[in-house]
Each structure stands twice: as C-alpha cells, then as structure tokens.
Amino acid sequence: MRIFIQGAGCVSAQDSGVFPGEIRRYEGDRLPVADPDYKQWIDIKQIRRMGRAIKMGVAASHMSLEAAGFPNPDAIIMGTAYGCLADTGVFLQKMVSQHEDMLTPTAFIQSTHNTVAGQIALLLGCHAYNNTFVHGAFSFENALQDSLLLLAEDPSRQILTGATDEITEYSHTILRRFGLYRQAVSAGEGAAFFVLSAEKGATSLAQLTAVEMLYRPASEKETADQLAAFLLRNGVQPGGLSLVLTGRNGDEGNDAYYATVERSLFGDTPIAAFKPFCGEYPTATAFAVWMAAGCLNRGVVPQEAMVKGAAPAQPERILIWNHHHGKHHSFILLEKC
C-alpha cells in the first residue's frame, strides 16, 4: 500500500505555503516564527489566552486540512516533546511565587501536552481516534508510525498528523545553560501538519514511504547498517536517493556523526540540511517532511539547503535522517508521486 501526503501546513521561521518560497535568514541563537494571521482559524478571544504551541498547531492543522480539501479526519495524531511550555511556565511561576495560593485554572488546563490535539478535535467536532506522543525526537516519528499503522489497518482512512513545539524564555534560558547553543546552533520552534491517505488525489504532494526510529545505536557503524537495511526494505539502494536531508544543526560533534555515516553509505549522493531554516527542536523533522514534500512536489531543492553536491533537479526520492545527541535517530523516506 502507498501512502500520500494530501495536504500540508506549516508554521515556522519560514513563510507558510509550499516550500521553497523565498527563504528567510536570521541571526542569533533563537529563530523567530513567521506567524500567520491566526484569526483565520481561531476566535480572537481565544487567541489571547492560547499558548504558542496550541496556536501554531491549530493553524498548521487547519492549513493542511484546507489544502487537502478534507475537513473531517478519521484520526488526529500528533507529537510534541515539550508540550505547552508557556502555560506550564505560567502555572509553575505563579504556583511558586504565590506559594500555591490564589491560582487560576486556565494555564493548568492549557498546560497538558494533549491540549493541542484536544483543541483540534474540539474545533472540528471530531470524535475519532486522538493520540499525542511525547517522546523527544521520537514524538513526531511515533505520530507518523501510528498513522501508517492505522492506514494499514484500514486504508479508507484520512489521517491528520503532525507536531508542534514552542520555545519560551524559561526553556531557552535553561537549554542555553545546558550549553546547547554554545556553538553555531539556533533554537527553533514551529508546527507542521499533514493529511495522509492511501489514495492518490489531485492535491497529493508526495508519497510517504516509510518511517523508522533507531534508539541508542552503539556506533556510527550500527547506524549505517540500520539505515541501509531500512532503505533496502523499502526497495531503495543507498545510491538511489536524490537527496539526503539531514538534521545538521551547527554543532560540530553532532554534524560529524552525519558525515561519518554518509562517507560509508552514500558516496556522491547530494546532502542537505533543514535546521538552518527552522532551528533546532525535537520535532523539527515535521518541518523537514513539509520541506521535502514541497521539494518533491515542485521539483526543486533550494541551493541554500545544500551541504554537499549540487541541489538535485526534479528529485525522486528524499531521505530525512535526524538524530538528537546520537541517541534518538529517525529515518523518513519520501518519494515523488
């Protein structure tokens, strides 16, 4: 069975709409988001009370449903590593500074990680399967895998899947103290959603062939072996890829891992990176899927994305490979449709 991306929506540091448009460049260790006009999808009174993770998620999900021309998904499945950090921070700050006294419920209600998927269901009046995965750099990947399983179980379904994560002052300060941005790494945030189904239609952007996660590989060699096996299982030779779109983020050690595996596996295959456009965050692979689907659909890869080789014209197959501290690896294979 083949699975197609029928519609996509993205809120990120780049303009919404199918990638690549005009590329926005930023300086500093925190990329801002090019916010769309949220009033299109959310009541203005609600917007003021909503954290960014919720707003971005609701907006991206609506964009993807509109693009697919499908308002009633048969499942809503998403990933978020940090959940609704802004509301969590507000509630924590008040709880501590007010000594657990005179607290109000709004921030707590909106702090729970499944708020976004719940809000999307509420706005759509959707009673279908609803699940939220919260597992660092596996969050979006599990949402994708759950979606592929649901489609294998019943190919007639239309599935809304995606991810959202936000940066807050607190989280940025804490992650900076961990030394995450000591090198040329920029923090990012954003949301990307997709409508998936098993039937190719007029709006289909790309084929989502497979997703796989690899937890704690012992060495670069194990990663290379697992990656090669993943490609072969899906009928692709490592040399048959048009592009490898990696999660290079500017951290030397992190990026060297990609280079080591690429040398043993990919030869002359062009290599690109997506995090210069969206920043580093655990669910950035959702942005990468949006970017890759756009590249496959338009037949163009922006030269600015290239790490090695020339940008391929009319790409046929793109592998997204991301890792988080060498511990959580994910492989996502997309093909032209």
Binding site: F91, T112, G118, L122, G125, V134, H135
Partner: protein, 397 residues
Amino acid sequence: MMQGSVWIAGGGVISGIGRNLDECMASFEAMRPGMAYMQHLHSSHAGTFPVVEVKASNEELAALAGMPAHWSRTALLSRIAVQEAWNASGLGSISDYRVGFVSANTVGGMDKTEDFMAAFLADPAKGKLRQVVHHECGAVTDLVADAMGIRHHVSTSTACSSGANALMYGARMIRAGMLDVVIAGGTDALTRFTLNGFNTLMILDQQNCRPFDDTRTGLNLGEGAGYVVLVSDAVAANIRPWCRLAGFANANDAYHQTASSPDGTGNFLAMKGALEMGGLQPEDVGYINLHGTGTQNNDSSEGLAITRLFEKGVPPASSTKSFTGHTLGASGGIEAVFSAWALREGIIYPNANFSVQMKELAFSPVTAFSRGNDLRNVMSNSFGFGGNCSSLVFSKE
C-alpha cells in the same frame, strides 16, 4: 498485514495500596483504601486534601528500582512496576525477543522541575540543572528502557487515558509484526503542579473520594505505575498467559477541554468500539473496571454512557480509584493490570465509600470483594482531559 492475537503475559503494579500486585490484592480484600495526608510530597495543601501516595520515600523506591534517588519519582515507580511485570511474564531474558516499551505519563519529571523553579525564578543562573534534565515525558521512559535493556522501540504517550493508549499502540505494533513483546502501561508521581492544577478546577475532594455515589464531590490524586507485558501468538504459545487483549478503542468526546459531555459521547464510542473489535456483545462483559474518578461530571457521563450501551443490564462494575486515587497517566496501566488479573482469578473488586445511589442511574457499583466469579470478558475504561476516551476489553480465551 494486521494479524493474530495479542496476549497478556503478565503484569506489575505499584500504587498507594501496595508496592506490588499481591499487596494491592490484600488491600482490596481487606477493604483498605490508600488515602491519607501526604508524607512525601511537600505542599501547602498537605493538611487539606487526602492523597494516595506510594508509602515509600524516594530513597526506598530508588533502592527497589536500582536507580539514583535524585531521579524523578515517576521513573522510580515505573521501573519497579516494569520489573514486576517482566518477572511475572516468565519470559526470561529481554534480549531474547524484539521488545518494545510504550509508557504513558502526564508531567514527566515535573516533581524535580518544581523543586528547581524557586531558585531559578529568583535568579535564572541558579537552580540545579540535574533537576530539569529529565523534565520531558520521554526522558522518564528512556531511563526505564535503559535500565531494562530495551532497545527496539521506546515511546511515550500522554493524557489521563494514555496508559490504555499505550496498550493499544503496543498491541498494534505486535499485530503488524514489528515487535514480539511490548511492555505497556503508565506511570505518574504526585506533584504540586497537578495537585494545584486540579485544585483550581475545584474537583479535589477534601474527604476520601466516593466514585459513583450521589454525594461525591471530587477525586483524590494518587500516584503509581502499572504495566502489562503484551506478547504475540508465537511467544504466548510457550507460556501460560493471563488472558487476551481482545478489543480496544480510542474516541474523542470533542465537547470541552477538561469536562465530559453530559451524555458521555466519547465514553460510549470508546466502549462500543472496543466491544466491536472483540466481536463481543455488551452482555458478554462480566465486569467493568470504571474510570470512576469521583467528580460529579465524570461519573455521571460514564454512568449514562454505560446505561445506554448495556441496555439489557449493566454487569458488576466498580472504580478501583476509590482505593488508589486517580493516578493520571498511570491509571490506564494500573487498571489494565487489575482487569487482566481479575479475569484470570475471577475477582471482582469493591468500590469503597459507596452509600447513596446516584439519582440519574439505575445501577450501583459493587461494594464487596469477591473471588471465584466466572468471568469471560472484562472491560477497563480510561477517560481524560482533551476529550480523550479509551476502553480496553480483556478476554479469557
């Protein structure tokens, strides 16, 4: 592609009524709910709200778990229950199988983050970073996966119904042939964050909670962890499994971010879906382990949805939260263990503190512990914020 059955090879649980399944059973049999004023969590509400703490300090839990005592209590509880579940399965070495781990929790390492915040808020350069290193929900799962030597698949889902969602996801990965064995369930430690959050919603009872009683005024928060070991047909052939996970469904109420719809639309759809997947009729169910938090809204919605689905008669039903409190992300896992064990042993659990019949319902919960019941199918309900509703059905064969 999707084929075969998924079996429960064993289960493990730690809760406020016992550090393992045997101790929990003894508490049910002796009608000994676990509510008390808190001993381990520090909160200005300590003398106001009874809670159902696991009766052990972090140091004691760390020794049981074989983990450092400064790690999140959520991870310590998880490891203890996972190990018991694995031992109960009789499967031997984890490295002999393709084992996945799907765990649920709602606030990850929040118990440590909230300790961090006082120093951090006074000065953003202060606060011990080791207190926030496991803040993410998934980080807690990774710690336990690493301690168990699980490599093939780790994931974390969230919501108060997510312990049940973990079982569903695990079962579906087995049926798709991706894994042979999945340890699935959930964990959550008590935190000031959730205690204060539920307090702002005004749904915490200052007395012991009274699920499905007309005088109920809220829930008691609890903590703990519960996991089952799910296995494929091929693995089950070599052991004596407890029972089979015959049906499950996840539906959304799509009514309100925290409240249930008055008629329990999502609850109804989840229960109905689980029965349909199992090829069962409502009258095939011998016992329902209720979600039954003890809030006005939750119990009324669940009760009315049950009345509608079980129109020919409601089977014996009880809320074990009247003993364990609401353990949030852990509850679906803990109650899955209780439900699977009930089926194997013919046990029906009592609902504590019931005295006044709910006006809107024609049925009332079971109030006495009993063994020797001829149960063929048991249902377990888990509902949560965000309209998330999940039901599981366990079957003897």
